[in-house]
Amino acid sequence: MGKTLFEKIWEKHLVKTIPGGPDVIYIDKHFIHEVTSPQAFAGIEKRGLKILHPEKIVATADHNVPTINQDLPIKDLLSRLQIEQLVQNCKNHNIELYGLGHPFQGIVHVIGPELGITQPGMTIVCGDSHTSTHGAFGSIAFGIGTSEVEMVFATQCILQSRPKVMRININGELNKGVVSKDIILYILSKISASGATGYFVEFAGSTILALSMEARMTICNMSIEMGAKGGMIAPDETTFKYIRNRRFAPVGGKWISKLDEWKKLYSDKDAIFDKEININANDIEPMITYGTNPGLGISINDKIPETESIVDEGEKKNIIKGLKYMGLQPGQFLKGMAVQNVFIGSCTNSRIEDLRLVANVIKGKKKNQNVKVMIVPGSQQVAAQIVAEGLDIIFKEAGFEIRQAGCSACLGMNDDKIPSGEYCISTSNRNFEGRQGAGARTMLASPLTAAAAAITGVVTDVRELLN
């Protein structure tokens, strides 16, 4: 019997199986950031241990960094201390740090791929749920807790129960105005925020194959939002072309041998998945969320579903609570509704292609006067690229505020918060209560839909602006 892509990589990294317990899995690459690592450093120090392979770790500061005046000392004392702690820990343990002020600094899930650190066939972990992003390269990548960070520090291994494997096939051509963010929000709306819990998901099909690497990353990034352990896409020419010549990509003979290895990374034709779901790309329209979990999305022209028809009492109660928080009603159209904020950024949608999409919609236009628009590039390199391409001029002329790289208003750990009660169309990944600031009302959407709302000041079908 054939093997799935997931099985091939998992088995290659399997150190041992504990009878009646989880597997011991060897980790190739470990990313860390300032928020989920300090207690792990303290943990190994307390145990009197050394980090086994500091050379397999890459660190950056992203969650807690300000996005203005990054050259000045951080005003918030706790944020400053946490970032200083990371600097100290990396120094003490000989770990490569792309911290504040470094030209490679940025959101951990943006910099890994852009530096060519993320490669097919790897096992990758990070104390961050959106580590699933790296699966776009055909790797097993997943988020871990701080105790697990400590585990990998100490032994380069992790204990994990082997998840089941699901394949989601998406076939057909995408409609105009529909991008990869809409694909994943559509899947989420179909299978719910817990629809893939217990599974590792492989995305496949002609629609996926036609996507760029950055578009694929958006999809794998949000696989965690459906509860999946991670998401992955088999590497192909698009993948290899993306990696080649990046800073840490293999070169010379190493490149040739790696390529040979990577080309074997696909699910065999007769591989059996625990579950398969088929999606027709033609059914997908620009999506937007109305509730307080990412599974609650609708097509931009649809109404918020009526709650009477929901059979499951628990689900009904949750949706009603979410709608109350959002200040919305069942049966209401979102289209045409005024928004006060647009946030373009996060590990989901802050890469150069996302920002090009935005620029394409808004070029020569001005933002609506009632909307505050913040654009936060995912990394220093993306920030440099928008300047190189002149996109910064387009954004500035439109009245957008361009910030410096970081996680920013995706989770509002720094000062970038959405005011209580206000609406924000956000290209990020979570619309949880208070995620973007206490009382903030988040509607998740694609960079295109976010750009359209920035111009009109209301929830807009971007296709009306694309002609």
Partner: protein, 194 residues
Amino acid sequence: MHPLKYIQSTFIPLQLENVDTDQIIPARFLKATTRDGFGKNLFRDWRYLDNDETQPKTDFILNKPEYHGTILVGGKNFGSGSSREHAAWAIVDYGFKVVVSSFFADIFKNNALNNGLLPLQVSEDFLQKIFRLDKDSKLTIDVDRQTVTIDSTGEHEMFDINSYKKTCLLNGYDDIDYLISNKAEIEAFEATLI
């Protein structure tokens, strides 16, 4: 880690689904560099109307003095969202030893177990039975026998936990100790890598 063997306690019913880790511990409280003190901010934005903790939301279950105990009972898909272990630390620090739900998010489940907090998965039917109990009802959890019992009626259910994790919980062992004891095997594996 403290061993966890047998718990008999009243419980706090949090009748909500998809309780995500941003609710359990909002991001603005993740700036600490130690594991301590997160219980104070557990469910912070559901507990307080204001930022200064002067106005508790009286209708929130943790603010109702008649509900207390070391068992937290939540709706399905408990712990979804961020990987922040701070969520498990906050629940433990507040004083809970067990979280009961019909469904847990993966990362939260691992984080809980790594802190000696038992994520106890019951059937949806059994969960609803628990939610229908009155505030003085007790649950008894026997980790070794893998059972959860409603004291007042004697109704019980078996729960799943792999034998490795069960041993860890019963004895207070953690995964790092285990992995370190496997050093030779890990080194042998590394030798096979190119």
